[in-house]
Symmetry: C2
Subunit: 243 residues, 2 copies
DNA sequence: CGAGGAATTGACCGCCATCAATCATAGTGG
DNA sequence: CCACTATGATTGATGGCGGTCAATTCCTCG
């Protein structure tokens, strides 16, 4: 359950997140209308929606995706606690993507019409919003690099490594293991590969002892093997803002 | 040549761009340190650069890209007049991508240290910066959808259509034709395909009379054929800000 | 006119998609 | 407690889209 006060938000105390001034946190707290819960599989946002609020993912995992008419689906990036959602939605053009929950999800809700207040009176927070948007673009850049240039094996290694690092920053890793709610179909849709080929690649990495992925648990045994498999172009992440 | 005053910027008068208040334009004008010229092939920004100013592309074409160690290159998006560059560069982590010119390019230069002034005193412009960042992410989303899910033929059709529409909005199209500075290698690197396969696909579309691409000139004959080939998921663009 | 980049075409092949079937796991109702 | 069902994972067989190697032609430009 999300706390009622942003000042005591347990996310914010993680070293991953930067600090804000008390005044800024007070404003966030006041702007926050409350929280919403979604169950696994529910859509926080559907492609084409012409109205949405702004959300910060508080707990759980989700993903952002686009679909073609014939139901081919590309997952654009994975959303984890601290990620900010909904800025792209315009009433004129509608949401260019959908967001679907992988687990039960809790989000903090911010009414979009207050965004102007935020930009007007809290330039530091406005900058944070921009930073979060730019950061998400960086993730998509990385995914595009993978899908466009890396082999199947490299893609899988890259995404596993990226998720693992992100999860560790969020303190979701214990004994090199974490809860991993993606199915192989999700991984396939994220990497632009067929489900079957994705399975074969996972199987191979499993057999080689790089990591194991079974029953929604990911266990990484050999990060250095992962790194070399990934043809890794490291994109470091400094402290990130939380809104 | 860029005019010395932003108020008389010929870009701004295009219907593609939204209006700003006189005060905002005055601020942009004051923040602008001047212009820089690059020749075709020059890099405005190199992957890893730990310092850069902010730029608005005034004339010419460029592209944003990422490379792996072994020189595989993914072009992330094409940059055309009005595009904003450099926000992602942080002194701590360096530029996560490079920017290279396709033609001779002229950019307007804004010192990054004045960005705080902009956010503090001109929330409307701050919002514009965020919008531009978010919009670019939308383009990358589209490209990822293409590279991940579309066939070679569909990818080529999609990108040609997208460039054509963008060029038309910028008044670069006359008689269905425009100057098109990308080589087939660029298209290949953008679509995650080999040069040779890209050539074959282009050849086929050429033979079928959909468009012709020769001598740096793109001529589109059948946009509706393009649209159906692209399995198009239209992402409409409203008026965009210009900084 | 020569040189070098870009485009084109052919031959060959492999990674990965597709089709199909089986197995594993978990949840449900009788 | 055990069919029964649904979802997800796994494996085999086959084929095609698109990658790779190689050679030639075309353009552009000094």
């Amino acid at each position: 359950m999300a706390p009622t006060k942003c000042a005591t938000c347990p996310l914010r105390s993680r070293p991953l997140f930067k600090t804000n001034t008390d005044e800024e946190i007070a404003f966030i707290n006041e702007m926050r209308r409350g929280t919403l819960k979604f169950s696994a599989g529910a859509q926080i946002l559907s492609q084409g929606d012409d109205d949405s609020d702004l959300y910060t993912l508080y707990s759980g995992w989700a993903f952002r995706f686009k679909e073609l008419e014939d139901a081919r689906r590309q997952i654009l990036n994975i959303l984890m606690p601290g990620d900010f959602m909904g800025f792209h939605v315009s009433p004129h053009t509608g949401a260019p993507y959908g967001i679907e929950c992988l687990t039960e999800v809790e989000v903090c809700v911010f009414p979009k019409r207050k965004l102007w207040d935020l930009f007007r009176n809290h330039p530091g927070l406005a900058y944070d919003v921009t930073w979060l948007t730019a950061h998400e673009e960086g993730i998509v850049d990385d995914n595009l690099l993978s899908v466009g240039q890396r082999s199947g094996m490299e893609r899988v290694a890259t995404i596993v490594l990226a998720v693992y690092k992100r999860a560790r920053q969020l303190d979701l890793v214990q004994d090199n293991a974490l809860d991993f709610p993606l199915t192989q179909q999700h991984i396939a849709d994220m990497l632009g590969m067929s489900l079957i080929h994705t399975n074969r690649v996972l199987r191979r990495l499993h057999r080689d002892g790089v990591f194991t992925l079974a029953r929604k648990k990911l266990r990484v045994h050999d990060t250095s093997a992962l790194r070399s498999l990934a043809a890794w172009a490291e994109t470091p992440v400094p402290k990130r803002p939380l809104i």
